[in-house]
């Protein structure tokens, strides 16, 4: 695709700013499709962060943050028993449904996720981990509110804070939405999503600016300035503190005021996940695959969420077919 899309070569700007040293290697690779920088990432999210409602935790008489999917399932049962109507808070969008799958699979086995979803390995796509992920996903959907239509997750944030809904699997952007809706940090806890091997799994979703070639000198000057700003630690700090993401620069200090515990945990999770080779790219947010394949797979997930008569075995077959059909 790149040869058709005339993009600006940003190598010189990036080198001048010494930016490459402070960006996670996987993320750098993603923005250098042919070995040259064509886009600059601004902020990072993990799409499988676990948001816990304090009031729902009180209802369940629980105070431990779940680490594995077994812990998560236990807590959901306790919440249900304690009077939380829907232990999992959800929306009805395609991305929402896709996130339920990617969080399940990556939490069960990041290795299987990498092989099946990122590398489209045929054997891995029909492997036992995929079936296990669909089984976990079915448990999650049974704890969700089916009455969502096409509404986004944010519709249910008040019910989540009120403890009518318990846990939300969402990216850090939900912190920005919660804060701007007037809720307090005491209302919820943010922790890395469930991971069966106990070490955090990071489902990477980065927002980036791509730079298209322009002939006009004033626009070129503007692009140079824009590139400087995107890489600037002060800009990244200001931006992430508003949105709830973490900065792309690994040298930004998150200990100060203005950062939440959730953001610090997210940054720590990224570090751990990179060290353990457990940082993978999000499918639901268009990072892991090209658009056509992503959409075909999300078709399968969204139907699976909305149609409980589909069995995990059928879903595995459908996923493999969807991948085969759009290659």
């Amino acid at each position: 695709m790149v040869e058709d899309c005339p993009t600006v070569d940003l190598d010189a700007v990036v080198a001048a700013a010494g930016y490459e040293k402070v960006v996670a290697p996987d993320l750098a690779k993603l923005h250098k499709p042919e070995g040259r920088w064509i886009a600059l990432p601004l902020q990072i999210y993990s799409t499988n962060m676990l948001f816990l409602s304090k009031r729902a935790m009180d209802k369940a008489k629980a105070d431990k943050i779940p680490v594995t999917w077994a812990d998560f399932n236990d807590l959901a049962e306790k919440m249900k028993a304690g009077g939380v109507t829907f232990p999992v808070a959800n929306g009805g969008t395609r991305a929402d449904d896709g996130q339920k799958f990617e969080a399940s699979l990556a939490g069960i086995s990041p290795i299987a996720y990498r092989a099946a979803i990122m590398n489209l390995d045929k054997k891995a796509l029909e492997g036992p981990e995929i079936k296990a992920a669909f089984e976990q996903m079915r448990k999650i959907t049974n704890w969700m509110d089916p009455n969502v239509g096409a509404q986004p997750y944010a519709t249910n944030l008040k019910r989540f804070v009120d403890g009518d809904m318990g846990m939300m699997i969402m990216g850090g952007w939900a912190q920005g939405v919660l804060r701007n809706a007037g809720f307090k940090f005491d209302d919820f806890v943010i922790a890395p999503g469930p991971s069966d091997n106990g070490k955090p799994v990071f489902l990477l979703n980065a927002d980036a600016f791509i730079f298209w070639q322009r002939k006009e000198p004033d626009l070129q000057a503007g692009q140079a300035l824009m590139a400087q700003l995107v890489m600037d630690p002060a800009i990244q700090t200001m931006y992430s503190q508003i949105t709830g993401s973490i900065p792309v620069r690994t040298d930004v200090d998150l200990s100060g005021e203005g950062w939440s515990d959730g953001q610090r945990r997210t940054a720590a999770a990224l570090k751990d996940a990179v060290a353990n080779n457990q940082a993978v790219l999000s499918l639901a947010h268009n990072m892991a695959q090209e658009n056509g394949l992503t959409a075909a797979m999300i078709d399968v997930f969204t139907e699976y969420v909305k149609n409980k008569t589909i069995t995990p075995d059928q879903a595995v077959t459908r996923l493999a077919e969807a991948v085969e059909g759009s290659r």
Binding site: D4, D145, V148, A150, D299, V305
Partner: protein
């Protein structure tokens, strides 16, 4: 065109000043008409060309024959969208016709407050489809809207969860679309009812026909041309329906309420498959032509019969 021209020419005017005097009218009509025709035709041709190329994220030249068409027609999304279009198109056109006609007949009874009622029924037409879709998505959401209201009033076994029911969700789009556009049908029918010659109605009454019989045998048969206009306008809306569905269900639950226009958008802008999206758009154009060509032919023969006796 001829209507406009004939009302402007007054008898006795010299020919030259007539042409000059009508110049603003010609400019007013022909310039926008030519511009929009050129726009429409050039973009249609461009889309048709793209549908035969291997274009993905950006348009590229090349020739792949019918590959894009085969891919679209083999896809599950398109099958669901096409079945939904048949159901939605038929149900929406018939029901909006019946609703519009019923409202028109009721309003035709020379009742008090007719102007107010007429405005109320016509008002939804002034609201954009996105607004209609969003409002109905709240009303029909079982956890927030009508179902919850009835539950809170005490009838807790009441169920109205079509929005989240895969088999019934398409009917929520029918409901919202009828709410939006039956006022349009009503307005046209009302105009038709009012233009029926009062003498004919009186003659029918003198012959002893009751109100039902008068409507059924005397008035309604004169409404055929209006009915056909309403059907054609509503059908082309049904085929190209996009914003309403996008706001109301966005093709969900799952992909149960896909419609062709959503598939086109999805292919072009979500999946980055311009060639396939263009092929789906051309297929939509063919469906539209299947509706519009018979209508144009019917109009043509009507006019011929009128002029040649």
């Amino acid at each position: 065109m001829t209507d406009v021209a004939s009302t402007a020419t007054r008898p006795g005017r010299p020919a030259i000043s007539g042409v000059v005097g009508r110049l603003p009218e010609y400019l007013m009509i022909w310039v926008p008409l030519l511009l929009s025709a050129a726009h429409l035709i050039s973009f249609s041709l461009w889309t048709i060309w793209i549908s035969f190329t291997p274009s993905t994220l950006v348009p590229v030249s090349g020739w792949v024959g019918l590959r894009n068409y085969n891919a679209v027609m083999a896809s599950r999304n398109w099958h669901i969208a096409f079945d939904n279009l048949l159901l939605f198109g038929t149900a929406f056109v018939l029901l909006s016709l019946i609703t519009g006609l019923a409202l028109a007949i009721l309003l035709d009874q020379r009742i008090r407050g007719e102007n107010v009622l007429r405005t109320i029924f016509l008002y939804p037409l002034a609201v954009s489809f996105v607004v209609t879709g969003t409002v109905w998505s709240w009303l029909l959401n079982p956890g927030i809207g009508i179902q919850k209201l009835v539950h809170d009033l005490g009838w807790t076994s009441f169920r109205f969860d079509w929005l989240v029911d895969r088999d019934m969700a398409i009917w929520t789009i029918v409901i919202a679309a009828i709410w939006q556009s039956s006022g349009f049908a009503m307005a046209l029918f009302l105009a038709g009812l009012r233009s029926v010659d009062a003498d004919i109605i009186k003659a029918a009454q003198i012959d002893g026909a009751g109100p039902v019989r008068t409507y059924w045998r005397v008035i309604l048969p004169t409404l055929w041309p209006i009915t056909i206009t309403v059907v054609v306008v509503q059908l082309q809306f049904a085929i190209s329906a996009f914003d309403l569905v996008r706001a109301l269900t966005n093709g969900g639950p799952g992909i149960a309420t896909q419609l062709p226009a959503l598939v086109v958008y999805d292919l072009m802008f979500q999946r980055g498959q311009l060639g396939r999206g263009a092929a789906a758009a051309v297929l939509m154009l063919l469906i539209l032509l299947a509706v519009l060509l018979p209508y144009a032919a019917w109009r043509y023969f009507q006019r011929r019969r009128a002029t040649h006796g």
